[in-house]
């Protein structure tokens, strides 16, 4: 099998994997980064959301070969001001319930705020529409994004 070169959270990994393997399973099974979750396998729920070159990507349908040489960030590797503000707001407001979707929610919210530090409710609806939370923590997700925004723009 070909070796794929991946850059994840600032580290290089040489991964021996079928090029069609979704990035999700390489992250989880080969690299051991299990903060990114498997929810649906068909890019419907967003639990597997990661950043690739600063944009959100559903890692469950992204063939690892297509990610070679690009910068991948997972929940474990978040460092930006926006990311830290999002994580803090999430904890401050106790957004989580079961927590399983929240890595993906935080990854989506982080890109939103990196690109738009003062999002409207409509902006939030659009940016977060791909992330399902079966516990329906949406009221707090919205509030936490506004709180993080306030912190970033203060």
């Amino acid at each position: 099998m070909p070796v794929v070169s991946l850059h994840v959270n600032g580290h290089s990994h040489q991964v021996d994997a079928d090029p069609q393997t979704p990035l999700l399973w390489v992250l989880r099974d080969e690299i051991g980064l299990t903060g990114t979750k498997f929810g649906c396998g068909v890019a419907q729920c967003g639990a597997c959301t990661v950043h690739v070159d600063g944009q959100t990507m559903r890692s469950c349908v992204a063939p690892v070969a297509a990610i070679a040489g690009r910068q991948v960030t997972t929940i474990e590797g978040l460092t930006s001001h926006a990311a830290k503000a999002v994580q803090k707001a999430w904890v401050d407001l106790d957004v989580v319930q079961c927590g399983y979707c929240q890595s993906g929610q935080i990854m989506s919210a982080t890109v939103l705020l990196e690109q738009n530090p003062k999002p409207s409710d409509e902006d939030i609806d659009q940016a977060m529409a791909g992330n399902i939370c079966r516990c329906a923590t949406y009221v707090r997700i919205r509030a936490a994004i506004h709180a993080a925004s306030a912190q970033l723009t203060a």
């Binding site: 927590g99 399902i132 079966r134 919205r142």
Partner: protein
């Protein structure tokens, strides 16, 4: 109390399984966490976590390093001054880890920032749900059954710390103050709990430690006093779910399950599957054909390469439309009586019906679809079995895992992990995913630990659905607006029939099929109830709030229809039937006041109201709905809840918010249809979930109370559907009797 709990508590046949119905007071049990660990490691240790994860998880979760004072199986204190509290229940998002820790920490006068939590493994003697008599989480009972037990555990620890300080300082115990994990005396003496822990361990446990009165609570009921213990780990990726378990040589398995209910395997050809790189085994197990591999993708690719011939004849006739037709006929016929009209009171003329209000309601199968698909790690080694999973009913999982492995119970260790939601899915007496994982481990002769991973399609196609239900209701109204007669037919599979909980069926009636109709919050002596419980090849299961998922919709939309027929306001009509039910009245009045019930609404918008009691908790909701171009938007939901003492107000609010969104998604979209025995909806593209842009604003109001607490994980679900449906009718829309809305042509805006 949920009937499930009562049945378990009362059934003598469960004694072999069960702990004493009233567990020994923790102080007197003399069993400590250390004893438990020594006896085989029942408490989930986090030693198997990778180092960074362990460090991060110990933000708030994870035990103190060295417990030197362990007065009972629930609490221990280390020399490092950390307090560790063991959660005997399953944490699936509902917040009971925080709640149970609050009960102990309050009585202990512990500093919340020094509290750590961990999860108990299977040990029915130490960790039974006192309401069930077995270890398990369900019926929104975690706080309710543990309220005195956990407080007593904390009070015992505190009393022993105080006693140790009194001895060390030579002062009367009554003069010692406690607070924020510190002992103090007016003389200036001061010690942290950690400093006094070793001495406390030598004290005798008090027989009846004094519990605080509600006005003395320092954490319970206090806003911002007890942030969730699991927030940090769930926000940085370190929270450990079943899929995240790392063990040396761990393999992953997927199973090719039968494609339809009742299907039998005729033959299979695994030659191509075995050639997939990474596949290590292809083995037949009772559940299907398991493909075992070095990683998840290889296992999935191997499964795709299998060639299996199935005989699907058995389920070919299973079809949702045909089932609904059959159920409609059944519900209109006499069946097993679940409610009999009371005889008219002497000298009081029976009301004579002059008007009939009737409706037939249809409810589909529902999948739970928790975010985390089912999975379980099973490891057979050294004559033992270990499992890791979201074991919501450890007692059952323990029994069935041992049976599948052919091992005695004491050779089987369960590691109960948090789960990514359940909504009832993991509370099942079949223990399906754990048994299947053990079967795979047995099939590969315990060569390595193996994780069985369900895909979303596997999980959604597995059955164990909220059963379909049809209600056929005819109510006679007198000229006075009084209800003269109420005939109520229900057709729904019994959830408990054929399981270890079948003893709940009394006189042919499974109470989970009719709870909410009978018993009802309302005084309905004229109720004439008939139940049909057909059996199908599709296994049914409880789904967040169980029978109330359909009964509340029926009862509360009927109340609005009746109020309209009687020319009365829906709130006033309900209150008149709730004169003997102060708590239902209380939440109704509170939600009416907070929502401005009766206020003028913009054109196309209306309010709808509903109230329901579920597992002892009363919830009333007012939904504000806008109809535009045939589309529905729920703008806002007001929610009043009476759950007795509010242990963690913010967790209660969170559960109400979550229940509302969960119920709204089901109302709009959720249905598993059967065609030729196969489930049609298999993933979130067809089985839609509520998304953020559909979530209404929610305002929650908690009734102040000193009554013993009841649960909040489920009771917010039942009133939402009827509150929204009633609002739609009041806004000029259709009266929907076939759920979900999407089936009736109503779509969300």
């Amino acid at each position: 109390m949920h009937p499930m709990m009562k049945a378990w508590r009362d059934a003598p046949e469960n004694l072999a399984l069960a702990a004493p119905t009233r567990a020994p007071a923790p102080a007197r049990s003399g069993v400590t966490r250390r004893d438990v660990l020594a006896a085989g490691g029942f408490v989930v240790a986090i030693g198997w976590l990778p180092d960074p994860a362990r460090a991060a998880a110990q933000g708030r979760e994870g035990a103190a390093a060295q417990a030197v004072f362990e007065p009972n199986q629930f609490v221990s204190i280390g020399a490092d001054n950390l307090v560790t509290i063991v959660n005997k229940h399953h944490e699936m998002g509902q917040g009971n880890t925080t709640g149970l820790a609050t009960l102990v920490a309050d009585e202990l006068d512990a500093d919340w920032s020094l509290v750590r939590t961990e999860y108990a493994g299977a040990n029915v003697k130490l960790y039974a749900n006192l309401a069930f008599g077995m270890q398990g989480t369900g019926g929104s009972s975690a706080i309710a059954n543990s309220y005195l037990q956990y407080r007593t555990a904390g009070a015992t620890a505190r009393a022993m710390l105080v006693s140790a300080a009194a001895q060390a300082w030579g002062v009367p115990a009554g003069e010692i103050r406690t607070g924020d994990s510190v002992l103090t005396h007016a003389s200036g003496k001061r010690a942290t709990y950690g400093e006094m822990a070793a001495a406390a361990a030598k004290q005798e446990a008090p027989k009846n430690p004094v519990l605080k009165s509600p006005d003395q609570f320092s954490l319970m009921g206090r806003e911002h006093a007890t942030p969730r213990v699991d927030s940090p780990s769930k926000c940085n990726g370190t929270a450990q779910y079943t899929g995240d378990v790392k063990l040396p040589g761990l393999l992953t398995a997927v199973i090719a399950f039968p494609p339809s209910f009742g299907a039998k395997m005729v033959s299979f050809d695994a030659s191509a599957a075995r050639k997939v790189k990474g596949v290590t085994d292809v083995v037949a197990v009772p559940e299907g054909i398991a493909v075992v591999a070095k990683n998840t993708w290889a296992a999935q690719q191997g499964r795709r390469a299998l060639k299996i011939t199935w005989d699907e004849a058995a389920g070919a006739a299973l079809d949702s439309d045909a089932l609904f037709a059959q159920y409609r006929e059944l519900a209109a016929q006499p069946g097993t009586r679940f409610a009999k009209p009371a005889a008219a009171e002497d000298g009081k003329p029976a009301a004579v019906a002059t008007k009939t209000v009737e409706a037939v309601y249809e409810f589909p199968f529902l999948a739970h679809a928790p975010m985390e698909p089912q999975s379980c790690v099973a490891w057979l080694h050294d004559g033992r079995l270990e499992t890791w999973a979201g074991h919501q009913f450890p007692t059952f999982y323990h029994m069935f895992a041992a049976k599948a492995a052919g091992l005695p119970l004491d050779k089987v260790t369960l590691h109960s992990l948090i789960s990514g939601g359940s909504f009832g899915r993991r509370a099942n007496a079949w223990s399906d995913f754990t048994v299947a994982a053990v079967n795979v481990a047995v099939a590969i002769h315990g060569r390595a630990p193996v994780r069985l991973q369900y895909t979303r399609e596997d999980d959604m196609s597995a059955g164990l659905y909220r059963p379909m239900a049809v209600h056929s209701v005819q109510v006679g109204l007198a000229d006075t607006g009084r209800i003269a007669s109420w005939k109520h037919g229900v057709a729904a599979q019994s959830i408990v029939a054929g399981t270890a909980m079948a003893m709940m069926i009394k006189d042919g009636v499974d109470p989970t099929s009719v709870e909410g109709v009978s018993p009802s919050s309302y005084e309905l002596p004229m109720l004439d109830g008939q139940l049909h419980s057909p059996t199908l090849a599709v296994r049914p299961l409880w789904w967040r709030s169980v029978g109330n998922t359909h009964t509340a919709y029926v009862m509360e939309t009927m109340m609005d229809k009746l109020a309209q027929a009687a020319g009365q306001d829906p709130l006033a009509f309900r209150l008149a039937l709730l004169e003997k039910n102060p708590r239902a009245t209380g939440v109704l009045k509170l939600v009416a006041e907070k929502s401005g019930w009766g206020k003028a609404m913009p054109a196309g918008s209306a309010q709808g109201i509903a109230v329901h009691e579920c597992f002892g908790t009363n919830v009333a909701q007012v939904a504000e709905v806008t109809l535009k171009d045939g589309k529905v938007r729920v703008d806002r939901v007001f929610c009043a809840v009476d759950c007795g003492v509010a242990v963690n107000p913010d967790v209660i609010r969170a559960q109400m918010e979550g229940c509302i969104g969960f119920a709204l998604g089901a109302l709009y979209y959720s249905e598993i249809e059967l065609k030729a025995g196969r489930p049609v909806q298999r993933n979130f593209d067809q089985y839609k979930a509520l998304r953020i842009y559909e979530m209404p604003a929610v305002e929650v109001f908690i009734v102040p109370s000193t009554a013993a607490p009841t649960g909040v994980g489920e009771p917010g679900v039942p009133p939402l559907g009827p509150a929204v449906a009633n609002a739609i009718v009041r806004a000029g829309g259709p009266a929907v009797t076939r759920l979900p809305f999407a089936r009736s042509g109503l779509v969300s805006a």
